[in-house]
C-alpha cells in the first residue's frame, strides 16, 4: 500500500480528509455545546438539550427511513455547495444559488410535462438538461453583467433570487397551473421524466430502452475512468498505442454487460425493497458531480484557468486568459449545478412530481455555510452536506420530542461556520497553540474590488 502511494490517484483526497477532520470536528463540537447552552438558558430545563440532541440523532438516522431521508435532504446541498465552490474558487460569490435552484425547478417542471409520449431515455435527460441550462443562464447573466458593467455579483444574483421567486410564483399560479388539481401546482411531469427511486430501479430496468440508457451511462463512465487511469505512467508504458482501443473497448464491454446483466440481476436480488423509500438516483448524480467538479477544477486546463482568474485576475489577464469568458463560465457551471439541484427536487423528491406553489427550500443559504465549512473541497462538501442534510431531517423529530424549535439548527450551523472560518477563536477557547505554517491561508472570497 505504502509503495503505491505516489501513484495512487486517491492519495490527495485521503490526506485532505485527514487534514480536514481535525479543526472542523472541534468547531462542530463547540457549536453543539454552545447550542446546548442556549437551549438550557431559554428552557431552564437541564434535560432539554440532551433530549433535543437525542431526538435529532434519532430523526436523522434511526427512525423509519431516517437515513435515506437524510440522504435525500443532502443531495440538493451537495449540488448547491458544489456550485458555490466553483464560484468561490473562481473568485465569485454566487449568493444567488437559491434563485437558480428555483429556476432549475421551474424549467424542469415545464420540460417534464410538455409531452407524455417520449421514452425515459430521451425525456429524463431532456428535463435534467432543461433545469441545468435554466440555472446556468440565470447565473450566467449576472456573470456577464459583472464583467461588462461592473455590477457586483453578490448584489445582482441576490436580486435575481427575488425575481426568480416571483417568476416561479407567477408561472405556477398563472401560466403553468394544473387546472385539474385543487392545490396550486404545475401539472405532474410525465412518468418518463421522473427521476428513479432506488426502489423502482429493477422495475424500470425491465424496459429495454431504460436498460440501454443505463448501459450508455455506465459505458461512458467506464471509458472516462479508464482514460484517467491510462494517463498513469506505468499504465501508459504498458498500453502504448493501444490506449484508444483500451478505453473504447472497456467502455463498450461495460456497457454490454450492463445492458444484458443489470435487468436480470436487479430482478433477482435488490436491496431497496421499500416502495415508500424516497432515496433516489440523484444521490449517484450528486457523487458524480462532486468527482466531476474535482476533476474539472484540479485536473483540466479550463479548471486551471478558472482557479487562476479567481486567485489573481491580473496575472490571468497577463497570461492571456479571457477573464470575461471565464467568469461567465464559472457562473454558468455554478448556476447549472444549482439548477440541477432544483430539477432533482421536482423530478425525484416532490410527492406530486411537480412544482407546488409552496416550494420553499432554504437550501441556498445553508449551502453557503457548507461550502465554506468544507473549504470548497468537493469531498469535504459531500461530508458536510450529509451532516447538514441529517440535521435538517432530524430537526422535526427533535422539535416534536423536546419542544426545542428547529431554528436552533441554524444557530449551530452559523457557529460552526464561524469557528471553521476562524480557527483562532477555537484555539483561543481551548487554549491551543497555533500549528506552525498553517496560519497563512488564501482568502476564500474577496470584497467588492474584484
Amino acid at each position: 500500500m505504502s509503495e503505491n502511494r505516489k501513484t495512487n490517484p486517491f492519495a490527495p483526497f485521503l490526506s485532505a480528509l485527514g487534514r480536514a477532520l481535525g479543526m472542523p470536528a472541534l468547531a462542530l463540537l463547540t457549536a453543539f455545546i454552545i447550542g446546548a447552552i442556549v437551549i438550557l438558558l431559554t428552557s431552564g430545563d437541564l434535560l432539554a438539550a440532551p433530549t433535543a440532541y437525542w431526538g435529532l440523532i434519532r430523526g436523522a438516522l434511526f427512525k423509519q427511513r431516517g437515513l435515506s431521508e437524510s440522504l435525500v435532504a443532502s443531495i440538493p446541498y451537495v449540488l448547491l455547495s458544489l456550485g458555490l465552490s466553483v464560484g468561490f474558487k473562481s473568485g465569485l460569490f454566487n449568493i444567488g444559488v437559491e434563485g437558480q435552484f428555483y429556476i432549475g425547478a421551474l424549467c424542469a417542471a415545464w420540460a417534464g410535462q410538455i409531452t407524455t409520449g417520449l421514452p425515459a431515455i430521451i425525456h429524463l435527460p431532456l428535463a435534467l438538461l432543461a433545469g441545468a441550462i435554466g440555472g446556468a443562464i440565470w447565473a450566467g447573466v449576472p456573470g456577464y453583467l459583472k464583467m461588462r458593467t461592473g455590477a457586483h455579483e453578490v448584489i445582482s444574483t441576490m436580486m435575481m433570487n427575488y425575481v426568480a421567486f416571483r417568476l416561479t410564483e407567477y408561472v405556477i399560479t398563472d401560466k403553468l397551473r394544473d387546472v385539474n388539481s385543487t392545490t396550486i401546482q404545475t401539472p405532474s411531469v410525465s412518468p418518463a421524466a421522473e427521476l428513479w427511486t432506488f426502489a423502482a430501479i429493477p422495475q424500470r430496468l425491465q424496459d429495454p430502452l431504460n436498460a440501454l440508457g443505463v448501459a450508455l451511462v455506465l459505458a461512458l463512465l467506464t471509458a472516462l475512468v479508464v482514460r484517467a487511469l491510462a494517463d498513469r505512467p506505468d499504465w501508459k508504458a504498458k498500453l502504448g498505442a493501444r490506449r484508444g482501443l483500451a478505453i473504447g473497448g472497456s467502455g463498450l464491454l461495460a456497457g454490454l454487460i450492463a445492458f444484458v446483466a443489470l435487468p436480470l440481476l436487479t430482478n433477482a436480488w435488490w436491496p431497496f425493497t421499500d416502495a415508500y423509500d424516497r432515496l433516489h438516483t440523484g444521490l449517484i448524480m450528486a457523487v458524480l458531480a462532486a468527482v466531476g467538479v474535482w476533476w474539472l477544477m484540479e485536473k483540466t486546463t479550463p479548471g486551471f484557468e478558472l482557479r487562476t482568474v479567481g486567485a489573481n485576475p491580473n496575472a490571468a489577464r497577463y497570461a492571456g486568459m479571457n477573464i470575461t469568458r471565464n467568469v461567465v463560465l464559472a457562473m454558468a457551471i455554478s448556476g447549472g449545478l444549482a439548477g440541477l439541484a432544483g430539477t432533482i427536487e421536482v423530478l425525484g423528491v416532490s410527492i406530486c412530481r411537480c412544482l407546488p406553489l409552496f416550494f420553499s427550500s432554504g437550501y441556498g443559504f445553508d449551502s453557503i455555510a457548507i461550502s465554506l465549512l468544507a473549504r470548497n473541497d468537493p469531498f469535504g462538501i459531500l461530508a458536510a452536506s450529509f451532516l447538514f442534510g441529517a440535521m435538517r431531517n432530524g430537526a422535526d423529530l427533535m422539535e416534536l420530542s423536546s419542544g426545542v424549535s428547529k431554528y436552533i439548527i441554524s444557530l449551530i450551523q452559523a457557529l460552526a461556520l464561524l469557528f471553521v472560518a476562524a480557527p483562532a477563536i477555537v484555539r483561543w477557547m481551548y487554549r491551543m497553540k497555533a500549528p506552525a505554517g498553517e496560519e497563512k491561508q488564501a482568502p476564500l472570497t474577496r470584497g467588492w474590488g474584484g
Binding site: G150, Y162, Y170, D366, Y407, G447
Partner: protein, 364 residues
C-alpha cells in the same frame, strides 16, 4: 495662482456632478411616470402622486439605513454583508421589547404614555441588539481577521437562527396586545406646503431620523477629522497607521456605529411598518441597501438617492396594483429588484470602492 485655478476646476466639477446627478434623478422620475401611465392609463391624480412619493420615502427608510451602515463600515475598509441579519435581529428584539415593556409600563402610567415610552425603549434595545452583532462582526473580522464576507454570512445565518428560534419559542402565539407602531408626526406649518408637505413632513419618526442622518453623515465624513481618518483607514491603512491613526480602533468604531445605524433600519420593520414580526420579514432589503450604497458610490447622499429609487420602484408597485388589480401581482413585484440590477449595470458603471475595502489590517 495655480492653486486657485485648481480649486476653481474642482468646484466646477463638483457642481457639474451635482447637476448631472439631479438631471439623472429627474430623468428617472419622468421615465417612471411615463411607465406608470403606460400601465394604468393616466388615472393617477394629484393625491395619488403625493401618496406614491410619500410611500417612496417611507419604504426607502430601511434601505437608506442599511446603505448608511454600509457607507460607514466600508469607508473604514470593512465589508459588511451582514446588514440583513442585523436588521432582522433588531426587528425581532424591538418587537418583543415593545410588546412586553408595554404590558409592564401599563400598570404604572396611562396607556398612551406607556405606548410612547415602550416604543422608544424598543427602539433603543433593538439597535443595541444590532450593535451586539456588529461587535461580533468587528471582533471576528478585525481581531481574528476572518474573511469579512464569511463573517457577514455567519451573521446572516446566525440572525436567521436566533430570530427564528425566539419567534417559535416565545413570539408565535398567545401574545398580548401591543402598543402598535409609531404614529405619524405632522410637522406644523411645513406639513401644509402643497405637494412637498404631505411627502416630506407627514412621516413617522424614523424617516425623519434617516433624512437627518444623511446630512449628518455627509458632514461628518467629509468635514471632520474623524471622517478624514475613516477615509484614510479605508483607502490606505498602512499610511494612516504611519501618521499615528489607530487603524484597528477606527475600524472597530465604524463597524459599531454601522451596527447602530443598521439597527435603526431593523426596528423600522416592527416599529413603523407593521405591528407584527415574522421570521423572513427583512426580505432582502439589507442587500438592496448595499446596492444603494454601491449606486451612491459610497457617499451618504448617493446612497440616499439609491434608496429612494428603490423605494420608488416599490411604491409604484403598490400604486399599479391599486389601479390594475387584473395584472398578476408578481410581475410588478419584480420591478424593484430588476430596477436595482438595471441601476447597478446602467447608471453606475464601474464603481470604485475604498481601496482597502474588505482587507484585514495587520499591524506591523
Amino acid at each position: 495662482m495655480d492653486t486657485s485655478i485648481r480649486k476653481d476646476r474642482l468646484l466646477s466639477q463638483k457642481w457639474l456632478r451635482t447637476l448631472i446627478n439631479l438631471g439623472g434623478v429627474l430623468l428617472a422620475l419622468v421615465i417612471a411616470w411615463e411607465l406608470l401611465n403606460l400601465v394604468i392609463g393616466r388615472q393617477c391624480d394629484g393625491k395619488c402622486i403625493t401618496d406614491t412619493l410619500s410611500q417612496m420615502l417611507r419604504v426607502a427608510t430601511p434601505i437608506a439605513f442599511a446603505a448608511f451602515c454600509g457607507v460607514v463600515c466600508e469607508r473604514a475598509g470593512v465589508v459588511d454583508i451582514g446588514i440583513e441579519g442585523k436588521m432582522l435581529t433588531a426587528a425581532m428584539v424591538a418587537y418583543a421589547v415593545n410588546l412586553f415593556s408595554y404590558q409592564w409600563l401599563q400598570s404604572m402610567m396611562e396607556a398612551s404614555a406607556a405606548g410612547t415610552l415602550s416604543r422608544w425603549l424598543a427602539l433603543l434595545v433593538g439597535i443595541l441588539a444590532a450593535l451586539l452583532l456588529a461587535l461580533l462582526h468587528a471582533v471576528s473580522s478585525i481581531r481574528f481577521k476572518i474573511d469579512q464576507i464569511i463573517s457577514g454570512t455567519v451573521i446572516n445565518i446566525l440572525a436567521l437562527g436566533v430570530t427564528g428560534y425566539f419567534y417559535r419559542q416565545f413570539l408565535a402565539e398567545n401574545l398580548p396586545a401591543g402598543p402598535g407602531t409609531f404614529p405619524k408626526i405632522v410637522i406644523p406649518f411645513l406639513a401644509d406646503i402643497p405637494v412637498l408637505g404631505p411627502i416630506l413632513f407627514r412621516q413617522q419618526p424614523l424617516t425623519y431620523i434617516m433624512i437627518l442622518l444623511a446630512f449628518l453623515l455627509h458632514y461628518v465624513l467629509f468635514y471632520t477629522p474623524w471622517g478624514l481618518r475613516t477615509r484614510a483607514v479605508g483607502e490606505h491603512p498602512r499610511a494612516a497607521d504611519t501618521l499615528g491613526i489607530d487603524v484597528l480602533k477606527m475600524r472597530y468604531t465604524n463597524v459599531l456605529i454601522g451596527g447602530l445605524i443598521a439597527g435603526l433600519g431593523g426596528v423600522w420593520f416592527t416599529l413603523e411598518a407593521v405591528d407584527v414580526f415574522n421570521p423572513m420579514m427583512t426580505n432582502g432589503l439589507g442587500f438592496i441597501g448595499l446596492a444603494a450604497m454601491i449606486f451612491g458610490k459610497w457617499m451618504p447622499f448617493g446612497a440616499l438617492i439609491g434608496a429612494l429609487i428603490f423605494g420608488l420602484g416599490n411604491s409604484l408597485t403598490t400604486t399599479v396594483s391599486i389601479y390594475r388589480p387584473d395584472l398578476p401581482s408578481q410581475i410588478p413585484q419584480m420591478l424593484p429588484y430588476l430596477l436595482t440590477i438595471a441601476v447597478l449595470t446602467g447608471v453606475v458603471g464601474r464603481a470604485a470602492p475604498p481601496a482597502a475595502d474588505g482587507q484585514a489590517y495587520e499591524k506591523q
